[in-house]
């Protein structure tokens, strides 16, 4: 076990743990945000730069600070390392810059986007970004491509985190899409007009941090804060069958995997569960799923009886707290 100090909190972690995961073991506000890192996907991380932290002492042996801010998702901790995240103004400033870069080409179509309300980029920009854009040029645009009847691709919203590519590689048995071209022209695509369709392809929707990949069967059906997330399960021979169903009354609007406090899925689910089981009778409902207290989803009108996560954020605008 090696010792590491993050924002003044000391903890002991296994050798080889990254700074981000060490921070997650401590938990709370000092966890750096991550847009591309996904703990369930091997090789993810290191692309979006939102998790930048300052290392003010490299290790006990060599306590010199690291010259530049480092990406905490891909930097392993060393014994005696001292890391600053929210206590360093430099980190917060850099993160603000990163958010601005991510938003340069991201369209401001949140009122239309189905991801709004559960979008990580929206949360990140709300917390770390500036209210106004300084960018004056045209945002990039792409030819629309159809990737099947179940998944909707909006390339203009993509931030190129590569999570969906890793998902297709590691969760499904065949990957037919990837990132084509380079630099400004880089886009998610199938190259030859192809349909992304296999038993687990729907998981790319859950891992997408923005609204680039959304559920076509839920497209424009409802906003996420008007539907109530419920934990439910069914016997499924392909996956674990444990899901969150998003309901309004007795109607199932959509099915997603269960997500933890960092927005990562607990267990990947199959397309049968996700797209085809849209009847309340298909599911055994266990109870309301936890909602992040400061989420807009908690702003809907179904709070009574729902266990809300993160009690630290009391007073963030939750009706029942007032």
């Amino acid at each position: 076990m090696i010792k590491v100090t993050i924002d003044g909190v000391e903890t002991e972690v296994e050798p080889g743990t990254t700074i981000l995961n060490a921070a997650r073991q401590i938990g709370g506000d000092l966890v750096p945000p991550a847009m591309c890192y996904y703990s369930k996907l091997k090789g993810s991380g290191g692309k979006c730069r939102t998790c930048l932290v300052k290392v003010s002492a490299g290790s006990a042996k060599d306590p010199r600070p690291m010259p530049k801010l480092v990406a905490s998702c891909s930097t392993p901790v060393q014994d005696g390392m001292v890391v600053q995240n929210i206590t360093s103004p430099e980190v917060l400033e850099a993160r603000k810059g990163v958010v601005e870069f991510l938003l340069i080409n991201h369209p401001l179509d949140c009122p239309i986007c189905d991801q709004a309300g559960e979008c990580h980029l929206q949360d990140l920009a709300f917390e770390h970004g500036s209210a106004k854009t300084r960018y004056e040029e045209e945002r990039r645009s792409f030819d629309k491509i159809d990737i099947g009847s179940k998944i909707q691709l909006h390339m203009t919203r993509c931030i190129l985190c590569y999570r969906c590519v890793f998902t297709a590689n590691q969760i499904t048995n065949e990957r037919v899409h990837g990132v084509l071209n380079r630099g400004d022209a880089a886009e998610i695509g199938t190259y030859i007009e192809n349909v992304i369709e296999n038993d687990f392809s729907g998981n790319v929707i859950d891992v997408c941090p923005v609204g680039a990949l959304t559920d076509k069967t839920f497209r424009f059906k409802s906003r996420v804060w008007f539907v109530k997330p419920m934990y439910a399960h069914r016997n499924c021979d392909k996956c674990c069958g444990k899901t969150t169903v998003w309901m309004k009354g007795d109607e199932v609007f959509r099915v997603t995997a269960r997500k933890d406090q960092y927005g990562e899925v607990e267990d990947f689910i199959c397309n049968d569960c996700r797209f085809d089981k849209k009847l309340a009778s298909d599911w055994t409902v266990e109870g309301p799923a936890p909602i992040q207290r400061n989420s807009v989803q908690a702003q809907n009108k179904y709070l009574q009886g729902i266990k809300v996560d993160a009690p630290k954020n009391i007073g963030y605008g939750n009706i029942s707290d007032r």
């Binding site: 179509d109 949140c110 009122p111 239309i112 424009f220 906003r223 804060w225 008007f226």
Partner: protein, 176 residues
């Protein structure tokens, strides 16, 4: 008990004097007050013929605006409905089809947009929440009706008719 406002008077039950028993001075005093009001400015107006000017920030019934090209601004984002403290607004969204580009400004539009005028408290939070400049509260009063169901205003009553003035505050949907 100690008085909080110091304005309460302790009631004393005492015998009335002769002048008080005659009641005439008291009646005259009361009449004076009545007569004084004949010479004051009348605050009453003859309502249907005369109308008071509305305040510039008056919040009356809603309209859903169109843009300069006559397309509906509303994109059914649901922010008005989630901002509404009275839960008066309900929206069903739909996707714009090919050939409807002249009707709706964005890819998504409100298929139904209903405001329950019996629930609405005219607080204007929907107007404030709207990111698309679509919903505005006009100076028009919400009309009275005999039937509760007529108070649920759908798109037929809310959307600004094509070719009318676009200014939200002075726009009057029912004016002849």
């Amino acid at each position: 008990m100690h008085s909080l406002s110091n304005r309460s008077k302790v009631v004393v039950k005492k015998e009335m004097t002769l002048t008080e028993k005659m009641y005439l001075p008291a009646i005259l005093g009361g009449m004076m007050i009545t007569i004084k009001h004949f010479f004051k400015r009348k605050p009453t107006i003859q309502y249907p013929e005369q109308k008071r000017e509305f305040s510039k920030v008056y919040r009356g019934r809603h309209i859903l605006k169109r843009d300069e090209q006559g397309r509906e601004n509303c994109t059914a984002c649901g922010l008005c409905a989630v901002a509404c403290p009275a839960e008066a607004i309900s929206i069903v969204a739909a996707e714009r089809k090919k050939g409807e580009e002249h009707l709706y400004r964005e890819e998504k539009y409100a298929k139904t947009y209903e405001i329950n005028m019996l629930r609405c408290i005219f607080c204007g939070l929907c107007e404030e929440a709207c990111p698309k400049d679509a919903v505005y509260l006009t100076e028009e009063l919400a009309p009275a009706n005999f039937d509760r169901s007529n108070f649920i205003f759908g798109k037929d009553k809310l959307v600004q008719p094509v070719g009318t003035s676009a200014h939200p505050k002075t726009y009057k949907p029912y004016k002849k």
